[in-house]
Symmetry: C2
Subunit: 566 residues, 2 copies
């Protein structure tokens, strides 16, 4: 492509509206343009990247035996009524009426359409398992679209759905899809991690997120520094510290200081103290059983999801009010401690490993030092109720936890029978009886990957595309073509030759200063620049500049072709 | 792909809802399924065809130098307000509100979005001409969706837009696009014709439709039998018959018969008579100038568009009422004739070529025979006001007109400045002044092509795909695989080998009777069947059946690969 026939549209200034670097660079490099809040037009450079991502995703889904289909974006609302999600989904589900005033939605996802289809088309277990996917535009009416295509309203997604008679079969397919996802992100050239995820509101049995690692990511991910273990921080198990708990060596002592003051003024380390939270319990018959105490080491954070999953803790997690605490313990929340409480005391594994620790005394402005669990506090329950932190032993058994930030670009679920049951998706099994199917679903945010790739791969000059998704493989940049016939001829013939060889090359035939051209190509992240200048032509050479390494070398024109030979 | 892992979904019965053969076959062969009125899911077999069509369209648009972009399907209504089409477009434009109650439309076409984009991005004539296209889902809220994907509501379209400073440049690009369209339909393997079209309501200077020829087509197209001339019947020029008009040889005679009776009872040929229509004129000052008479040969049909384009005829064309005719001529409309009328008489070229003709006498139940124009009727205007018919001389000057039916699958327009003016799309010209651009637009109905291809290529057994868009290149059909290990091994190894060679092959590994398998593959239109049977294996051969020719031959297994070698 010649720039003179191309919609290049780079910007010198960073648009004020763009908060994150990927959005800034996508606007500046001419990848997308905003049409309305959360709605974008993909310009040629951006669409080239999007299509490359899409093609890699498609090829690997097909290789994994998935059948490509295409479902409509406009879906009848009655399907969503049938699944029970029409009202549950919330205002991100955009509803509309056609000219006959029938109800439709713009599809944010396609579980309903595909489950209905499979319910109609399949009749026998012999047709199972079935694996289908589509790459289709989705619409979610985000209340505050932001970060460009990272959280847009109309976006491109790959969504796959699998159907099985038995859970074991779903597990096998799930592993196959997991492997396909790894191949996809490997081929995209991104630094990513599959992460054990909370299944959240979709329900089901197992779930992994795929995250592209980037400092600007919205999610915290816990890794092992010695294995491939990775989990969302909310989901990662916090193990007990290794070794036996030390025996008590101090006597318990009451101190006339608030716990917070005690820690500050006596240099008691935070991790040798515990903090105590009073929360609502699930039992209601006895006044004291209405509440539960949660105890954590002073330097740790409560993990609400883990706490909510305990049988005696109410969900959603609800802290006791100061009035409730006063009524039960007669002190302020900041003076709570595990000794002498009349409610169940649930102690985090790390807090339970302490001896001779410091805590509140359940009296205002008084604390204890030298406390020991069995000796001083009676019966306790030990559980994992905190977020992991860096340096924790990894729950996989190897190495320690490191925490990094990630951008979620894929999510796979073992869905189970939720949709199949609601929409009556069943087949005759080997015994001739109707059996409800069990399902998996597997999403990849195709347009989001483009933004995530930029968040991970950029410098102050612009984008540094991974090879597999660069919009062009190379650009030819002639120096002063207007003044040198030799430069023009060489550049033109190099361009024609590379085109014939099937190289995706951009020929910068604008009448611009070299500085302007270089800045544009660095901004756009073209991996290789072939600079055609008068001074190297006697030697029949051009200058080769590598966008990733910054390296400049001279290369014989006849050797250029070989750069693209694999 | 193995049928056991594939969503085959063929139907034995023809669904009652499907009116046209392509819709019937698309349902029966498992290409699409209906989700709601005018909304379809493309099943794997259908999507393979759709993608092949899409890829050919994309490749040829790129080869013609067009830049691919992707515009959002959901468009802000204010863009349509700006172009003036928000209310003009009618109820096919589906309107919706987002959660903040802002107005949007589902894009039925993208002139507004692209014109606005180009108005914002381009500043100089140096960036022209610009050629962009997209392949994107469109939505038109048809009042009565029918014929399956032929007239669906959500459908896939390729739409291209070009921008120019001068009309000459638009004309050059228009020709380039015309050529690209011909390459596209050539590659698709369809019998098609580019057809001179009326520009209809879009306006502009020139326009061609591309029609796939099929008996079931909705449009009549006039061809020359000796050149590549083709035009929509409404648009084709009707020439005067060749040769000089014959001199009068009869005297005019008043006959006491209504024209209709006269023709029936005396064997006067229809084409030796004329019929006369009184329509409203454009002049209003004089009572007699309020009307105009249109005269056609008895066997010809008035072309309303041609008549409306005459300066003295009112548009839209409006016939005079019987009351108006009585007041002016004192007879019934069926007795009108050109002799002695007090209004302008506009005579079609073919009627004007008659001599000694028969016509109404402007008195009830009376006619004239032996009428001649100059001698009997005074001043007349001669014009082309009829539809062409088969046998007419072609307006290109070569051969005669043949009329066939076609399905419109493409349409190209020289749009002019309509949108550029409304949306202020201008650049600085060489003189440094702002100049409004002139535009072309170019559509192809990608999903419609799939249906049109079937309308043109089928027999009683099913679809006969052109090679370039067949969902599979071949199918392997083993005979009694369950009972013969040799058949199973051969079929499996042939399948693996063809897969490795990159052949798109469907391996029918179902436990079905041969008859069921053959019927499915004929229905789906797989071009080649490779039938693996016990009786040919001693000779290391398989049977090859050609779907198009019906021919069956034996072929050595080692020669199968060569069938797909180009």
């Amino acid at each position: 492509m010649r720039t003179s026939q191309y919609l290049l549209s780079t910007l010198k200034e960073t648009p004020a509206s763009a908060e994150v670097i990927s959005h800034q660079l996508m606007l500046r490099a001419g990848l997308v343009r905003n049409v309305a809040s959360g709605l974008y037009t993909w310009l040629p450079t951006g669409l080239k990247v999007l299509k490359k991502v899409e093609n890699i995703v498609r090829e690997e889904m097909q290789r994994a035996g998935s059948n490509e289909v295409l479902m409509p974006m406009v879906q009848p609302a009655d399907l969503w009524e049938e699944s029970g999600r029409l009202n549950d989904y919330g205002p991100e589900l955009l509803r509309l009426n056609d000219r006959h005033n029938r109800d439709f939605v713009l599809g944010p996802t396609h579980e309903e359409v595909i489950t209905k289809l499979v319910a109609n088309e399949l009749s026998s277990y012999k047709q199972l398992p079935l694996n289908v996917f589509q790459i289709q535009t989705k619409f979610r009416d985000e209340i505050r679209p932001r970060f460009g295509v990272m959280r847009g309203r109309e976006f491109l997604m790959k969504d796959a759905y699998t159907f099985h008679l038995e859970h074991e079969c779903l597990e096998k397919t799930y592993q196959k899809m997991f492997d396909a996802y790894c191949r996809i992100f490997d081929r995209l050239g991104l630094d990513y991690r599959p992460v054990i995820a909370d299944t959240g509101s979709i329900g089901g049995d197992a779930s992994h997120e795929f995250h592209v690692l980037a400092d600007s990511g919205e999610d915290d991910i816990a890794f092992s520094d010695a294995s491939d273990f990775a989990a969302n921080v909310e989901k990662a198990e916090a193990l007990a510290p290794s070794g036996e708990r030390e025996e008590p060596s101090k006597d318990i002592e009451l101190v006339e200081l608030k716990l917070e003051r005690l820690i500050k003024t006596t240099d008691t380390p935070l991790n040798a103290s515990v903090k105590t939270l009073l929360v609502q319990g699930t039992a209601t018959d006895d006044e004291s059983e209405k509440f539960v105490a949660l105890v954590l080491r002073g330097d740790h954070q409560l993990n609400e999801v883990k706490a909510e999953n305990l049988p005696s803790v109410a969900s959603p997690l609800t802290l006791a009010t100061e009035e409730q605490i006063s009524a039960l313990v007669n002190c302020h929340s900041t003076s709570l401690g595990p000794k002498g409480l009349s409610v169940e005391v649930i102690v985090d594994r790390s807090a339970a490993h302490l001896s001779d620790f410091t805590c509140g005394a359940n009296e205002n402005n008084r604390s204890y030092t030298g406390v020991n669990w069995q000796r001083d506090c009676g019966d306790i329950t030990v559980a994992d109720i905190r977020n992991v932190v860096e340096g924790d032993p990894s729950p996989c058994g190897k190495g320690n936890i490191v925490i990094k930030r990630g951008i979620e670009v894929g999510h796979i679920f073992q869905l189970g029978q939720k949709y199949a049951e609601a929409m009556n998706c069943a087949v005759l099994n080997e015994g001739g009886k109707n059996q409800t199917l069990t399902m998996g679903c597997y999403g990849i945010g195709v347009s989001r990957i483009v933004a995530a790739a930029i968040e991970q791969n950029h410098d102050k000059y612009g984008i540094k595309w991974p090879k597999a998704i660069a919009p062009f493989q190379a650009a030819i940049v002639p120096m002063n073509m207007a003044k040198s016939a030799r430069v023009k001829e060489t550049a033109e013939s190099l361009y024609e030759q590379l085109l014939q060889d099937g190289v995706e090359v951009l020929f910068d035939d604008r009448k611009e200063r070299p500085g302007v051209m270089f800045a544009d190509h660095e901004l756009m992240g073209t991996p290789l620049l072939l600079i055609v200048g008068e001074r190297n032509l006697d030697e029949k050479k051009v200058e080769l500049k590598n966008r990733i390494t910054g390296e400049k070398t001279l290369i014989a024109i006849e050797d250029v072709k070989a750069l693209f030979s694999n």
